[in-house]
């Protein structure tokens, strides 16, 4: 029976094909898990140099944005074959507390071969802090990010500096009010459900207005007057002033980037990494020539200054606790986040979290927006570096989404969110 023979042959072939993938991992090989994007491209550009120096082979396991969360979490939980993992500061304390990552203090305490790579004081303190847990370091920062204001110089010669002036300015560039406006809307804000970006936007407003998420005793107070005022400000741009697109509740990062790139809006705020995209004439032919970058707006203070509090977060590389090559992995990540590699990382599109690199005046020629990034980082605030942050962020996202997406009253939404967060923190033992 030839059919049986053929199928047996196929089975043997397939089995051998598959087994080739499960051979024991090569001794001289490290696997790093990353998320697709300019940071990933920058890391890949650096790898050949490290492979030459160290004799180790580095394999990059890259995942697209959509499934990254699921994939990373599952593989870390199941203790998969990974030596280095790239992760975001929002999850720093949680991953550390869950014992998914290797504590690094014992490695950083040792004298390093290369002094400049081991210079820990050169990291932005807020960023480094986000990757610590109970005084133990778990990740070395590769990137730092903060928010900047992007505007089109053709339409707006002077960028807005306070939140108060934005509605009027945006009306000038919204077709609804000014039929001759080249842009459809003045500005835009992300409000898509299930994404953390709306919370980042809101926190900047909340903090600039003097509000807080928690009080000194860790009790949620964002549902007080200032909290309500800050969320109402965001809501009004959409439901009262109509200066942001009508489908704002479905707009995510990709949508707002496209909106600015296509000259549909005159100005908006976003992560600093987008400056590279907008300044590239091939990627953004419509706005590259007239791109303006500024600090994000804030709230005018009594003494005439402007209080701005952009959000900052970072990415780091850590070593999963299931890795079998921790020493080699550490050497790699220390090199990768060192000053030498950091400089090349910058040129390749990343934003290393090293003060010396971002403040180096020569680098302004490669990346002109770095000056603003450095300035912003002086007064930027990180999100609370606690292990409950992902859950808190989820509750805040839901509140934001129900206000802007479903028209739920601001006070009721915030009160419900505060109650949920109160329960959460209580269960986690914050109120003794």
């Amino acid at each position: 029976m030839t059919i049986v023979k053929k199928s047996l042959l196929c089975l043997v072939a397939l089995t051998s094909l598959s087994l080739s993938g499960t051979f024991a991992q090569n001794k001289k090989e490290l696997i790093i898990m990353t998320r697709v994007g300019p940071e990933n491209d920058a890391i890949k550009a650096l790898i050949p140099e490290y492979e030459q120096i160290s004799g180790m082979k580095i394999k990059v396991d890259e995942t697209g944005k959509e499934g990254f969360q699921q994939r990373q979490t599952t593989r870390l939980m199941a203790g998969d074959n990974l030596d280095v993992v790239m992760y975001m500061s929002d999850f720093g304390p949680l991953f550390a507390a869950s014992k998914l990552l290797t504590p690094l203090n014992k490695y950083t305490a040792k004298p390093a071969a290369n002094k400049s790579d081991a210079d820990m004081a050169d990291f932005y303190p807020a960023t480094l802090n986000a990757f610590k847990y109970k005084n133990e370091l778990y990740g070395l920062p590769t990137d730092v990010s903060t928010w900047l204001l992007y505007y089109n110089k053709k339409m707006i010669p002077n960028p807005p500096t306070t939140y108060a002036e934005i509605p009027e300015l945006a009306k000038k560039w919204t077709k609804r009010y000014n039929a001759s406006s080249p842009t459809s809307f003045g500005t835009q804000e992300q409000s898509k459900s299930g994404s953390e970006s709306p919370v980042n936007e809101w926190l900047a407003v909340l903090w600039a207005m003097g509000g807080e998420l928690f009080d000194a005793k860790n009790k949620p107070i964002f549902n007080n007057e200032i909290g309500i005022k800050s969320l109402t400000y965001k809501l009004d741009l959409f439901s009262k002033d109509h200066v942001v697109p009508d489908d704002t509740p479905a707009m995510d990062a990709a949508a707002v980037i496209e909106g600015f790139r296509q000259e549909n809006v005159a100005f908006y705020a976003h992560w600093n990494s987008n400056a590279v995209i907008f300044a590239d004439p091939k990627a953004s032919p419509k706005v590259a020539g007239t791109l303006g970058v500024a600090l994000i707006p804030g709230v005018a203070q009594k003494d005439g200054s402007i209080k701005r509090v952009p959000v900052t977060h970072g990415w780091a590389v850590g070593i999963p606790s299931s890795s079998k090559k921790k020493d080699d992995a550490f050497k790699f990540i220390q090199w990768l986040t060192g000053k030498h590699a950091g400089q090349k990382y910058l040129a390749a599109g990343g934003t290393p979290a090293r003060i010396s690199i971002l403040q180096n005046p020569d680098n302004l020629k490669i990346r002109p927006e770095l000056g603003l990034v450095g300035q912003s980082l002086n007064f930027a605030r990180p999100k609370p570096a606690i292990k409950e942050w992902p859950q808190i962020s989820d509750i805040l996202q839901q509140a934001h989404a129900s206000v802007i997406g479903e028209g739920k009253p601001v006070k009721a939404s915030l009160d419900e969110a505060a109650a949920r967060i109160n329960d959460l923190m209580k269960k986690a033992g914050y109120y003794k």
């Binding site: 697209g64 990062a253 296509q262």
Partner: protein, 279 residues
């Protein structure tokens, strides 16, 4: 046109309006795909122009980028091996099981209902235990593992679909064959299966499509050795922006093999003019 067809056709009016209706349906089916194709041959600046452009300077740079920036040929290879092998297993084992159940009546139905649970399990709920199971069995990142997985998950569908088609074929056919001296296997293989060709064709193309487009398990269970097309395409959704040109170009490329397969298999789908089965 056969008399029976004429009977059903009498419901619908003249050929011209029929043609117009078909055109309408095809237009709705294909419009988003046509838009995908148009986006794939536009330069990035044209892709989101307002108003949408129908006349523009076409470029093949997106297609070029798809194949040079990522090893798409490897993705095609992996997807083909896994897709074809899974479909063969599903049709092979599934048709045997479906035949058995369709003739078994009571006991068979209960068994068929119980295997539905595999289809009901939401993939996201079991991705973690699957990962652990595969890790224990050494099937992570392997073609064999993915074939076993896809076969298992699509077998209930294949079996149920084929039960529906086998059931309609009367038992008298096999009984006649058995009287003539065939074994049960021969009766099944030589009489029933050829008559179930439309059903087998439909099942094979639907199973292939489901294996070809599966995303979650391929995402979590594979890394280097095996990478299927849906994973490759998803990588165009990047950290800060979406590479629309390459995404749409890849989307069109991925669709083509199945489209061509569909063109081949559809002749088995359509019953030929030889309908004299009862001989």
């Amino acid at each position: 046109m056969s008399p029976m067809m004429r009977m059903i056709t009498r419901k619908f009016p003249r050929t011209i309006s029929k043609f117009a209706l078909v055109l309408c349906i095809v237009f709705i089916s294909l419009f988003p795909i046509a838009w995908t194709f148009l986006t794939s041959v536009k330069e990035p600046v044209d892709q989101f122009a307002k108003p949408p452009l129908l006349i523009f300077k076409a470029t093949t740079e997106n297609y070029h980028a798809v194949f040079t920036k990522q090893p798409f040929l490897k993705y095609f290879f992996d997807s083909t091996i896994i897709g074809v092998a899974s479909t063969v297993v599903i049709i092979g084992f599934g048709s045997l099981a479906a035949y058995s159940i369709s003739r078994y009546r009571r006991k068979g139905k209960a068994l068929a209902k119980s295997i539905l649970i595999l289809r009901i399990l939401p993939p996201m709920a079991i991705v973690l235990p699957m990962f652990i199971l595969f890790k224990q069995l050494g099937l992570l990142d392997s073609h064999l593992g993915m074939i076993l997985l896809y076969s298992a998950f699509n077998l209930p569908f294949g079996i149920w679909l084929l039960i529906g088609f086998f059931q309609d074929l009367p038992r008298e056919l096999e009984e006649a064959a058995l009287v003539d001296g065939c074994s049960k296997f021969q009766a099944m293989w030589r009489i029933i299966f050829p008559l179930a060709k439309p059903g087998l064709a439909a099942t094979s193309i639907l199973c292939l499509i489901q294996c070809w487009n599966e995303y979650l398990f391929a995402l979590v269970l594979c890394s280097f050795n095996v990478k299927t097309l849906p994973i490759g395409v998803a990588q165009f959704v990047q950290e800060h922006e979406i590479l629309w040109g390459q995404l749409t170009a890849a989307g069109i490329c991925i669709m083509l093999p199945i489209f061509i397969f569909g063109m081949f298999i559809q002749k088995h789908l359509v019953r030929g003019l030889t309908t004299g089965a009862i001989k």
